[in-house]
Symmetry: D2
Subunit: 328 residues, 4 copies
């Protein structure tokens, strides 16, 4: 699918690694102004994409900053030890993106709609986060050691509240005055392979307009005045992408067949769109989503891993074992 297809179907690619694939697919070359690193663990591969030059922003369709993708098929599994390892990897990668004083104040924001299972990840993480801010001022300083003041909020979505998410967060940030915001959100991906296998961290916050079909004002340093780290997890693929990808692959086969070159030239994204529309009607692009049947338990498990990683990264005095001891 070319980038027109994404535009036409109102699909925003939330994952930097996917955006990079699309760009490289078109040009076949490394992207200038972009650095990539890889780390390998028993149960995960970590890819770090750093957009370091201003001019690379437009090519990638993403602002300058660091994008960390944790790929771990074990997220979908039920093995608790694997999950604990992922909590530790996530915690370490997350901590690499911020630099906070010992007694700093952080706000965890769970984006998304708690009434729609695949979009409920953020609110679920908020419900499992180790919140300390309300006890922080009462507790003697010695027990602060290694604990930070953490608060957490699920603002809901525009359709439920009538208020832009960013407005709510802004109002709360002005009162709570955190030194860091961590925003957790369910994402749409271009590939079903990413559902339940990928976690993305980005120190650029959330750009305007991303997320599962909800346009919104960005949550980032410009809008909130404090650094924002976004944690995103693909939980759905728009049905339009499944249709588009199918056409792409058929065409790729035809293209390799020398006698069918003529056909290939007659098939392009203008041919695609009416077909995709016909299949998805009466729904519009963006209303239909592909999810695995076990999405309810997948969201539950993923929320536990993320809440664990966030809590460990924010409270350095708690180690992974303590954490798994006290929260379950």
């Amino acid at each position: 699918m070319d980038s027109n297809f994404f535009k036409n179907n109102n699909i925003h690619l939330d994952l930097a690694v996917e955006a990079r694939e699309v760009v490289r697919g078109q040009t076949g070359q490394e992207i200038p102004g972009c650095i990539m690193e890889k780390e390998t663990y028993d149960n995960a591969t970590v890819t770090i994409v750093r957009i370091v030059e201003k001019y690379a922003e437009e090519i990638m369709g993403k602002p300058q900053g660091n994008y960390i993708t944790i790929e771990a098929p074990g997220i979908r599994g039920n093995n608790k030890q694997t999950h604990q390892e992922l909590v530790e990897i996530l915690s370490k990668q997350l901590a690499s993106l911020f630099n906070l004083p010992e007694h700093a104040n952080a706000l965890v924001v769970g984006l998304g709609n708690w009434n729609a299972t695949p979009d409920a990840l953020g609110p679920k993480v908020v419900g499992m986060t180790l919140v300390t801010r309300h006890m922080y001022n009462y507790a003697p300083e010695e027990i602060h050691g290694g604990m930070r003041s953490v608060s957490a909020l699920s603002p809901g979505v525009l359709g439920l509240t009538g208020i832009e998410t960013a407005e709510i967060i802004k109002g709360v940030v002005e009162h709570v005055k955190p030194e860091l915001v961590i925003a957790v959100d369910a994402l749409a991906s271009r590939s079903v392979e990413r559902i339940g296998t990928t976690i993305q961290l980005a120190d650029t916050g959330i750009a305007p307009g991303s997320g599962v079909g909800n346009k919104r004002t960005g949550l980032n340093k410009e809008t909130l005045g404090v650094p924002v780290i976004a944690i995103g997890v693909p939980t759905v693929v728009p049905a339009a992408i499944i249709a588009g990808e199918t056409l792409d692959r058929l065409v790729a086969q035809v293209k390799d067949n020398p006698t069918l070159q003529g056909v290939y030239q007659s098939i392009n994204s203008d041919t695609f769109q009416p077909i995709v529309n016909a299949i998805l009607q009466p729904y519009t692009s963006g209303q239909l989503m592909v999810t695995p049947k076990e999405i309810d338990s997948l969201i539950e498990n993923t929320a536990k891993i993320i809440a664990g990683g966030v809590s460990l990264a924010l409270h350095p005095a708690i180690n992974a074992e303590d954490y798994s001891q006290y929260i379950h």
Copy 2:
């Protein structure tokens, strides 16, 4: 898609109207041994397919009996008056499929998994059904007038209980001794257009192996010893079908182009399967489903309509207004 595609992808077409379309699509002719009637209402079209001859069973892939399809886009809407009209249409059509004495005993069975939103329709209907059996023996006969003895059960799914649904129902039927079983189930459809717009009634019960990806022993007169009416509502489309349908439509376009006849001949269902597999991996066919984003509220509304229709059909003394008065 030819019927091989459905077989290969382990997709069972639950709707008789869809099966009929597939068959007619292949032969282009009316199906012998099959009668079709249509009724039109303000907010609904009702199609009745009667498989009247034994030999039509194999062609249609469905046992002899009556299949009533109510098509009503208003199911997806939020207009309560439309919903009330649908309750009445459903009630009338349902009543046309059974012939019960005044004081008969009926059991409503809600199939499906309450932990997976699109599959939770049956259990939700059971939760909203007007149950009377436990009070029936204590109440004086005069207030029985027009009320029947109704009980209701959600047996869960094999993965949750370790017990075949049919075994549980059989055991309960032997004790409760109903004269009719009504089984409500969420279905997979071949078309997203059917999601939230279609209700199917069938007096043949539920065939072995149908439902959202769950193989099961049938629930019908042979297995339970009493008539079984199935109420099915499409709530998902397997993602494999979206992919298959896309290919079909592209091919159809190519086919109409005289210069591309050669291409058309080189593309068939053997070409399709690897493409579909590649797009859906690592998931297998049947694990990935397409649903509208608002599936949670769609299931809730549909359950209300069905519970209403079932309660009115079973308790003739209650009219639609009474019902909407006492249950909400």
Copy 3:
């Protein structure tokens, strides 16, 4: 129980009519600076207590303002027509407490903890409220006629977020700039008779420290800068009150017996407290609550009535029938 008992057990009387009863119980006289009116409906009695003089504030333990109590045993029932009547009564009484321009902007706040059934009333009402603010600026003015710009928010409770409810609301109010805040909350009552039968409206907002056991900063004109109407519904009685009330009644019997006057004088609230503590330990006062078994469905029904009343009062163009048509 004398007022010491309430203080000792950290019980705050949220209902003005109850506070009035306690005060009158002690003095046996009408309360100066306080006006009381009554209206009678088929299914409800409405009592309006107006605290009109400053000096009555201390006697009543409540700030100057209007307190409307709707008593309607039908809230607990399942009759939809009764519920519709209550929606209209609530709407009318609520509208009597504010005076808003045609295009005003109102914010509905649902206080309480969605994870604790009896305290989830506020969040449930928010989920059912007809929210329009996000569409308001896009819609042409002629369809504004009689609709106001309404937004809604459930801030959660301190233990879940680490943030004082009032801080969140304040931050949001500064951005949304509503001309009225309506805050819905579940209350503790001193009498089980009030559970599921009483709705209280007050144009004084919410005082610091009230609500089901949660200390909090007040939500009122002083703290938020805009008028605040509180809608409260008793959903629990603290278990300590049941114990205290039992002792009271036994003592009342003894008191009437002339030969036992001596006993009566030896029993006072100092005798009571150790008994109450012993019965409720290891729980502390305020941790144990009395609720009816059917509390889950009671909260659901009450939330529907309140969301209906609020929506009708805020959108005068919608009449009760329209409302029941479009939302269910």
Copy 4:
């Protein structure tokens, strides 16, 4: 409270240790035909009451058999290691009550109403139980080693289904043919101290009429034809008991005062009942329950402990660590 109070208020004491206390309170002596043992653990005390003689049945109000009470305040806590120890204690005590062949077939039944939080314990345990029966016949025998064939069912309550729980279980037992039934249920207790601190096991099954206010036919060897072990957990105290207990304690104080002997003689259970009725009206005894505010999370944690203990006891090949590894 004397036993008339319990009878008058339709309160059945589910815990054998409580029944024993009531009986001993009346007679002040050890109960003949009854043996008591105690085991002490770091985080729990285990009391085993064996009713060994027929004539002790009537005194205790419970059938002959073994009643094991695990008292552990840590159930209410959030320490996972304590919970894991309780899983092991429960598993060991449970295993002491049955004697099953290696490949036996067991059915776990979750009694109670999933729509009423304090009564949802049984259904929640069923949802967390390690079910194997559906895979058992397909798996090669060598991997059966130490695993038994386990199925699980939540039948719902009479008000939801119109069918006696015992009828449903009986029907299922006839088809599944288990060699053991384990029935999990939430209980009413006479003391708030027991809520969230006590688990009772009994190899006598469930007597007719017990449970949280639901009369029902017994689930035991006579009715089902196979041994039934009941696991009960107090989650509520009837509000009538709080009132009754308060009166008891006041009277006990008066009784010790020599000058008030006259008063004491004038106060008896006939004096009590009208007082209790007056306080709880318009609710009847049994409709109002006392629970801790955190009942939702208490039920969740307790269900995890019980599902763990049941799974370990039924599958000896799984040790506690494996279990906590795979389920969470």
